[in-house]
Symmetry: C2
Subunit: 270 residues, 2 copies
């Protein structure tokens, strides 16, 4: 399947209402479940080569409204990955030490090393999303931040890190259903925060902030994907497929042995 219709490379204005939140790609639940298995197997192999090669890395950025399914997306995406070589960083409200530095300081520290796949659950984009939605910074500051973000991602990209960014796209109605679901299940209460109900009121401001991000912080080297996230099977299939495509494009290879393969053979060890 071609996911280019969900890909943003910065060449045009984006209106989120043109993007579906619930989509199955014409595939049944069972088709999607099977398809993701095949893709996952390919990812396992590509990850091992990336890890062995130790020349390139992959940074996956995940942004979404509350309850859009970030945690379960990460769980499904990493299910078949080797934990050694894959790190997940969750960025919460910055602490005092973090606030005493520029907004990219804590982000840079969590960038993947060569050979690694890192996943950001929220990211530097919070500083141009929640901050913009609430009006906590001036337009001028936000515009400067777009530029800092682009420069930072270009630095990563020039250093062998592929940056791939995903927005899990849901409707306000879907979010409300998820909140209700959390309240109905006591073992999910720990995920519910009454403040999220207040935050919902800023939905239009958030969507507008996302659209600005797509317009200002997308490129071929660091694209955004707007993932229809209400159908979780399609979401998982799309996430895995796009990640696989980018790993494929990096084309990692097992490194040449750093020893004389004629001298060291299985027989030579007898």
């Amino acid at each position: 399947m071609d996911f280019d219709r969900f890909k943003i490379t910065g060449d045009k204005k984006v209106s989120l209402k043109d993007y579906p939140t619930d989509y199955d790609g014409g595939l049944s639940e069972d088709d999607l479940k099977e398809a993701v298995k095949g893709v996952s197997k390919d990812i396992v192999e590509l990850q091992e080569k990336l890890f062995a090669e130790k020349q390139q890395s992959l940074l996956i950025v995940l942004q979404a409204m509350d309850a859009a399914g970030k945690d379960s997306t990460i769980e499904k995406l990493t299910y078949s990955m080797n934990a050694q070589g894959c790190n997940v960083h969750s960025f919460k409200k910055p602490c005092k030490t973090e606030l005493a530095h520029d907004f990219l300081w804590r982000i840079h520290a969590a960038a993947p090393a060569k050979g690694e796949i890192n996943i950001f659950n929220r990211s530097h984009y919070e500083d141009v999303l929640i901050v913009k939605a609430h009006g906590w910074a001036s337009d001028k500051t936000i515009e400067k931040r777009y530029q800092h973000i682009n420069n930072f991602e270009e630095l990563l990209s020039d250093s062998g890190t592929r940056v791939v960014k995903f927005m899990l796209n849901i409707s306000p109605d879907y979010q409300l259903e998820r909140f209700k679901r959390r309240l109905r299940r006591p073992e999910k209460h720990w995920k519910f925060n009454p403040a999220d109900i207040e935050e919902r009121k800023l939905w239009p401001q958030y969507m507008s902030a996302f659209e600005q991000v797509f317009e200002h912080c997308s490129s071929n080297a660091a694209p955004w994907y707007i993932v229809p996230a209400e159908n979780r099977r399609f979401r998982d299939y799309m996430m895995a497929s796009v990640v696989k495509a980018h790993l494929n494009d990096l084309s990692p290879k097992y490194p040449k042995p750093n020893f004389d393969a004629d001298r060291y053979t299985a027989d030579s060890l007898e």
Copy 2:
């Protein structure tokens, strides 16, 4: 199954020759494969509670001779874990910056946060294993290090981190077979290092260094387990079972909601 016969709590001298390297616990391959599935499911649930509770953490330390299977042990153990909340740290030969600090500096920085499970692929124990086997430090320095290690692990333990240490136990013959296997398979050449052949010659010194570690750096709060690692299915079953037992013992619980559950209900959101 009871794994206490493989557990070291520091109350006695340990001779590695009393511990099997190849062991199936009287179970068939298929039995072991099925058993590990059941244990993994329990770990998934326990990990979610640990993550939600955010009061305690688990540190898994893995040490072994080359080619004992550390990487594949980690792969199997983490297969069912959620990557969010599980970090693997591999400690290589220390770099200049690391050497400019005490030997526990880089280790402490990688300790798990509350709610997390961290796995160390090699660890602070290298500083009393490889260093001792090669005679790179005096006996007095090594003995001081045992004490520093115990104090450090006590600090972690007092702060809510359960420390569980595993030595993957193999024979020199098994190691040789694994080296040969790597040389026979071009896609495994990147894992072969001719220096490992030299290192083999110090096998008795390494075994003695391990025995000293077991004697000096084991306790009920931070036990060692000597894992028979040649039968990989038994190894995986034992690793998962011991990890599950310790998680069970921590008994993590979903936290109480930090909101008024009478006020916020699914109906209240209508």
